[in-house]
């Protein structure tokens, strides 16, 4: 009796005539279409992620000022400059890393290594995002610390409190609002990021795990 799988193999190899057939022109048109591969998507989203935090500085109130005026009045200008310099150095490092990882991705590798490289590229972006989120918290933290040590919080923030408002109470209230804002903002940015990449690479991860499972 013929093995069922040989039967399948024979049928598989015979059914070529039933396959669709594209003409030279159809194929020619096809190769110039834009790729919508996972890697391209990761590339685009990453570029957006590298740019977005910096777009904030294009908003006039961020550029000339309020932030820095407040920082000066709170006496934390030096701290803020140090943090900013470190931030840009690290961002630059991440961009170089990302570009190198991205260039390493080649469709000619075996499937396991290709997935490895994509995941490493994605991981670089993930570290970058975690870094950015931490920086947001650090900067908020510097502001909150500045407020805590400030003698003239009302003047620095241009507040107009009611006359009977207790200054100590007001200070804690403002610091509390800042802390809540910091956490909300970080959670929002983090949520968007992890949702985006989670959805994008879910299938890749499943296949990657399957391959790794096979090899252990």
């Amino acid at each position: 009796m013929m093995d069922e799988l040989d039967l399948l193999k024979k049928d598989w190899q015979q059914r070529e005539e039933a396959l669709p057939r594209l003409s030279f022109d159809q194929l020619h048109r096809m190769i110039w279409k834009r790729s919508s591969s996972l890697v391209r998507w990761i590339f685009y989203i990453s570029i957006i992620e590298f740019i977005v935090p910096h777009l904030l500085y294009l908003v006039p109130s961020f550029r000339n000022g309020n932030g820095y005026d407040v920082a000066r009045d709170l006496g934390i200008q030096t701290e803020l400059i140090v943090v900013t310099v470190i931030q840009y150095a690290v961002v630059l490092y991440f961009i170089v890393q990302f570009y190198m990882r991205y260039r390493e991705i080649s469709v000619l590798e075996d499937a396991s290594r290709l997935m490895d490289r994509i995941i490493r590229t994605r991981r670089t972006v993930k570290h970058y995002v975690i870094f950015c989120l931490s920086m947001i918290l650090v900067i908020f933290g510097v502001f909150i610390a500045g407020m805590y040590f400030s003698d003239n919080l009302v003047g620095a923030l241009h507040l107009h409190p009611d006359a009977d408002q207790d200054p100590v109470q007001l200070k804690w209230l403002v610091m509390g609002i800042m802390a809540v804002l910091a956490i909300l903002f970080t959670a929002l940015m983090g949520g968007i990021y992890f949702l985006l990449y989670g959805l994008l690479t879910r299938r890749l991860y499943a296949n990657y795990k399957e391959l790794k499972r096979l090899d252990h």
Partner: protein
């Protein structure tokens, strides 16, 4: 120069397009998705073509790029309907020498293969294409022994479906 390369590539793709169609028929289940995946594979092949040195056969080289695209790079754009309205391509009705038992067995096996995960499908595909275990292991990046073990498990599974 570029034009020449382009012409050469499209000719090669035209004569070897069956490989790509077969990968698409395994990994998609409607004509629209089939074309979508086919296009992505064609783009990836063309992008990688300058690195094709001709030290392997063009078709061998195609298997790797096509499978990598299907299991790693391809993003399914829309939710694919679960119903298999694409059976006409995957499952050939052979009018001549029609054997109902054989036909039923084949249908069951093709259905079972469609239910497999992406990686298992790749293994079955290379097996059906008569590729050796060394090529299967090199394409997927797993050891030959493990490729063999996994393939045997899939075979057993398919046999169980036919003889419950």
């Amino acid at each position: 120069m570029k034009k020449e390369l382009e012409h050469q590539f499209v000719s090669l793709l035209e004569s070897n397009q069956n490989i790509v169609h077969k990968v698409c028929s395994l990994y998609t289940n409607n004509p629209e998705a089939h074309n979508d995946l086919f296009q992505e594979i064609a783009i990836q092949l063309w992008k990688a073509y300058p690195k094709f040195r001709g030290d392997s056969k063009f078709s061998t080289w195609m298997y790797r790029v096509a499978l990598n695209t299907a299991i790693t790079l391809y993003r399914r754009s829309k939710k694919q309907p679960k119903t298999q309205d694409f059976d006409t391509v995957v499952y050939r009705i052979r009018a001549e020498q029609y054997d109902p038992t054989e036909e039923r067995q084949l249908k069951l096996m093709y259905d079972a293969i469609r239910e497999l995960g992406d990686i298992d499908k790749a293994l079955v595909f290379l097996y059906l294409e008569d590729k050796g275990y060394s090529e299967i292991s090199e394409t997927l990046g797993i050891t030959e022994v493990n490729a063999r073990v996994k393939m045997n498990r899939i075979k057993t599974k398919l046999r169980t479906i036919l003889n419950p």
